[in-house]
């Protein structure tokens, strides 16, 4: 008996958004970086926009699909790169989930993007420290990474706002 899965409107929309995020993820991976671990994180723009328009559950789907599909296409699935990527995504999604609970106006795209970027790098750093390089010297790098995450988070937040303003 054939099992037929009927995708709903929601599923199709999520798939399109995840595909968009994956494309950005892959384009971004071809950019040269001055330091390993530093990436503009443009794919997170999609996550934030989805979060603001369709809610946290959709953002989780899009973000995790992006990490999985992106790693499959780049050939890093289940490698340390993938683990770092996944940890970063899970950390930023958890923080975003909490940030959305804030009463009142709460955070705008800029605040959410900063939180996501900082949580992302903290999670990745801790995984790298615990798993790959448990050396005290690594902590010297964290302030640099956090500063860059803050700057890139603000930048992505501004881009988010511009994109949201143009959306119908």
């Amino acid at each position: 008996m054939a099992l037929v899965l009927q995708p709903g409107r929601e599923d199709i929309r999520l798939a399109w958004l995840a595909a968009l995020a994956t494309s950005i993820h892959i384009l971004e991976s071809s950019l040269p970086t001055p330091l390993p671990g530093i990436k503009p994180g443009f794919a997170n723009i999609i996550t934030i926009i989805v979060l603001l328009r369709f809610g946290w559950r959709s953002a989780v789907w899009v973000s995790l699909l992006r990490v999985t599909a992106g790693s499959l296409l780049l050939g890093t699935f289940l490698s340390p790169t993938f683990m770092l990527s996944l940890t970063g995504a899970l950390c930023s999604l958890s923080i975003l989930g909490l940030a959305c609970q804030l009463p009142g106006k709460g955070f705008s795209a800029i605040g959410l993007s900063i939180l996501a970027a900082l949580a992302h790098i903290c999670g990745q750093f801790l995984l790298a420290y615990v798993w790959f390089i448990p050396h005290q010297g690594l902590w010297g790098l964290l302030p640099v990474l956090l500063s860059l995450a803050l700057i890139l988070g603000i930048m992505n937040g501004v881009i988010c706002n511009k994109v949201i303003a143009r959306l119908p």
């Binding site: 709460g106 800029i110 900063i114 005290q136 302030p143 956090l146 803050l150």
Partner: protein, 118 residues
């Protein structure tokens, strides 16, 4: 930007600055060295000048302690990277000879970090 955004930005800038300031303290002079090889694992004081021989995977590494510093003088390895690394004197520094599997880790009486929390 909402009020929460501005507050977050302020807190993040302060937290990162404080963290950077605390992390990048000048390093502390070491007073002991931890010597690790396949046959030995010991801690030696740097206060006394002396020459040590440590048995490694390939043979004996010659290590010199002088004026609270330490370095490899000679090693049975072919590349001699360990010797070329020169003197080490600060807590947390490492001198390693991979082929001979001998490593020196300098320890200070105080850890270079008071505490690390998130």
């Amino acid at each position: 930007m909402t009020r929460a955004d501005r507050l977050l930005l302020l807190v993040a800038i302060i937290a990162i600055s404080v963290f950077a300031f605390r992390t990048w303290q000048p390093s502390i002079n070491a007073d002991r060295v931890e010597i690790i090889s396949p046959f030995e694992h010991k801690t030696v004081s740097l206060r006394q000048d002396k020459t040590l021989f440590v048995a490694g995977a390939l043979g004996r590494s010659e290590i010199r302690i002088a004026q609270h510093r330490i370095r490899f003088i000679d090693s049975p390895c072919t590349t001699k990277f360990c010797v070329l690394q020169g003197w080490a004197s600060h807590s947390g520094e490492l001198r390693v000879c991979l082929p001979n599997k001998v490593s020196l880790r300098l320890l200070g009486s105080k850890s270079p970090f008071d505490s690390l929390t998130f």
